[in-house]
């Protein structure tokens, strides 16, 4: 019997011929991702660092993105601590305020590559499956231990195979696909599992795959994976990368569950408060008034996302009752959007551009909601309190749905504008 992607890559990193689900293996990841939380991580092991140093200056990747620019003295001090740590230990990979969101940077800078094993102290580390890496989230304590030892244990997960068939209807996007899947299998439907996407995936760009893989954790997945094909290869070539060793699952691999989706059956979808699996079609909830719209984050802050929003908002105005916040996922995306006139269009329509980072998604700053307010967002989580106020509501949808709804001031089916 063959092996799934997760089995194959974990066998490789554990230096075993074969591994089976449930088996515990010891692995040395290629990279350890951290962001603003590097400050408390370093603090935990100050004395250990003084004694042992860090295991490898090329292991950690630190991107300041969560509360940027610093919102108060405490976050500013955290950033300063991180910069000093980076200098002291001569870390190879550090990206300061304004470079972008950590997950976007990992892929865009060619750090995460196909066939690599990456762990990160952020739950959306699962995103790099978009380019065929095995990547998964861990907590701060484990990140601290990894800085000292460079190795950890992983349980070989069971795998779920999701086959995508056919093509999407106009007005329907990658975000709708992943919302459909999470709505069907629930927020715990892939707990502890590796999720692989197969089928007619060649139609999806790396950006679209990123959106889907990014939300793997919202159904509990350990990692989410797209096989490497010519789309991946071309993308990597465009950022100057040609050397990597992709890992493909075996054709006769055994999956715990297999699901098939006919893409043409999927309408524009929306996750209602307060859980990501509370999914309805947009048409069912049209008319709910919204006060804030957010386009961006690690889920949907890439050029193609901003482009579709600009196409919809060109020559239009955001509804007077709505604040439209836009967060490009990186400086590069911001620059590309500027060159293409996308930013002009979005600002002319009434959009507010925030620096490339996580923004209001984590509720710490920039666009926190007031009690009774509703935000329609392209982000990945709508938990109660997520945007800083427990009496506010967050709805999740595609950039097209958010842009169209921003014009009308209420939840609106994007097919009204996108045909």
């Amino acid at each position: 019997m063959g092996m799934t992607f997760a089995e194959k890559i974990l066998a490789k990193y554990a230096k075993e011929k074969k591994v089976v689900p449930g088996q515990i293996v010891t692995v040395k990841p290629d990279y350890l991702l951290m962001h603003d939380n590097a400050a408390p991580i370093i603090k935990k092991i100050q004395t250990d660092l003084a004694e042992y140093g860090i295991v490898n200056a090329e292991l950690p990747v630190i991107v300041l993105d969560h509360v940027i620019p610093a919102s108060d003295e405490k976050t500013a001090t955290n950033h300063k601590t991180i910069r000093e740590f980076v200098k002291k230990y001569k870390l190879k990979y550090f990206f300061d305020v304004g470079t972008g969101i950590c997950h976007q940077i990992m892929v865009e800078k060619g750090i995460a590559l196909p066939g690599q094993l990456i762990l990160g102290s952020d739950s959306h580390t699962c995103s790099y499956g978009a380019i065929g890496a095995f990547s998964s989230g861990i907590d701060r304590t484990e990140a601290a231990a990894l800085l000292l030892t460079g190795e950890t244990w992983l349980k070989v997960p069971q795998s779920i195979k999701i086959t995508l068939k056919g093509s999407l209807q106009p007005g329907v996007f990658a975000k709708d696909i992943i919302l459909r899947i999470i709505g069907d299998i629930s927020a715990s439907g892939a707990d502890y599992c590796s999720v692989e996407f197969h089928g007619d995936i060649q139609q999806f760009s790396v950006e679209e795959r990123f959106t889907i893989a990014n939300m793997g954790v919202e159904m509990g997945a350990k990692n989410a994976f797209f096989p490497v094909d010519n789309i991946t290869t071309q993308y990597l070539k465009s950022i100057g990368i040609s050397k990597y060793t992709a890992i493909d699952p075996d054709k006769d691999a055994s999956y715990a569950k297999e699901l098939t989706y006919n893409l043409s059956d999927i309408p524009p979808l929306i996750a209602l408060p307060h859980s990501v699996d509370n999914v309805k079609s947009v048409s069912e909830v049209e008319g709910i008034e919204i006060q804030q719209c957010l386009i961006g984050t690690c889920t949907n802050g890439r050029l193609s996302d901003l482009k579709i929003a600009a196409k919809i908002l060109k020559g239009k105005k955001v509804h007077p009752n709505v604040r439209l916040l836009i967060l490009p996922a990186s400086r590069q995306i911001y620059l590309d959007a500027l060159k293409e006139g996308i930013i002009d269009t979005l600002v002319e329509a009434g959009g507010v551009i925030l620096p490339p980072g996580c923004g209001p998604c984590l509720g710490a700053h920039q666009g926190v909601l007031a009690p009774g307010e509703r935000c329609l967002s392209t982000s990945n989580r709508n938990f109660k309190g997520r945007m800083g106020c427990k009496e506010a509501e967050i709805y999740l949808a595609s950039p097209a749905t958010v842009a169209v709804s921003a014009i009308y001031g209420k939840i609106t089916d994007p097919r009204k504008e996108v045909r």
């Binding site: 990160g120 739950s123 861990i138 304590t141 000292l148 715990s188």
Partner: protein
Amino acid sequence: MKIWKYGDNVNTDMLFPGKYTYTCSTPEEIKPHLLEDLDSSFAKNVKEGDIIFAGKNFGCGSSREQPTVGLKAVGIAAIVAESFARIFYRSSINQGLLLIECPDAVKAYREGDSVSLDVENGKIIVGGKSYLFPKLPKEILAIRDAGGLLAYTRTKLKNKK
């Protein structure tokens, strides 16, 4: 000993609001905000030895570790749930916090039932009835028994020297 009972999909924002994640990191900073948006009576009344019962997918969401650090610090003896989210599960091992995945025990529990633990034998006794729960593999148990991952790592590094 008090039993705190919650439902399915108790997420990390309910356990510890995201807005504090970059300003509160130590147990003392975390404690007053534990479960703030889920149960405002928890932080004030929780006592050492208390147990949490919950449904499916407990701890889903973010990788923030304030929930596991905080629950360990206030002395939660165990969290008994139908299932746990992966990062939370791992994080609990790293903090030396006992998680018990036992759907039968959760379904059997009624308010007022006496609850006791027999960790050594992988047993939880609810209302006089015993339920077995799977024990962790020994290499993982070693981390939890060391008091958490940092203590475990320190011993490992010392022995290597």
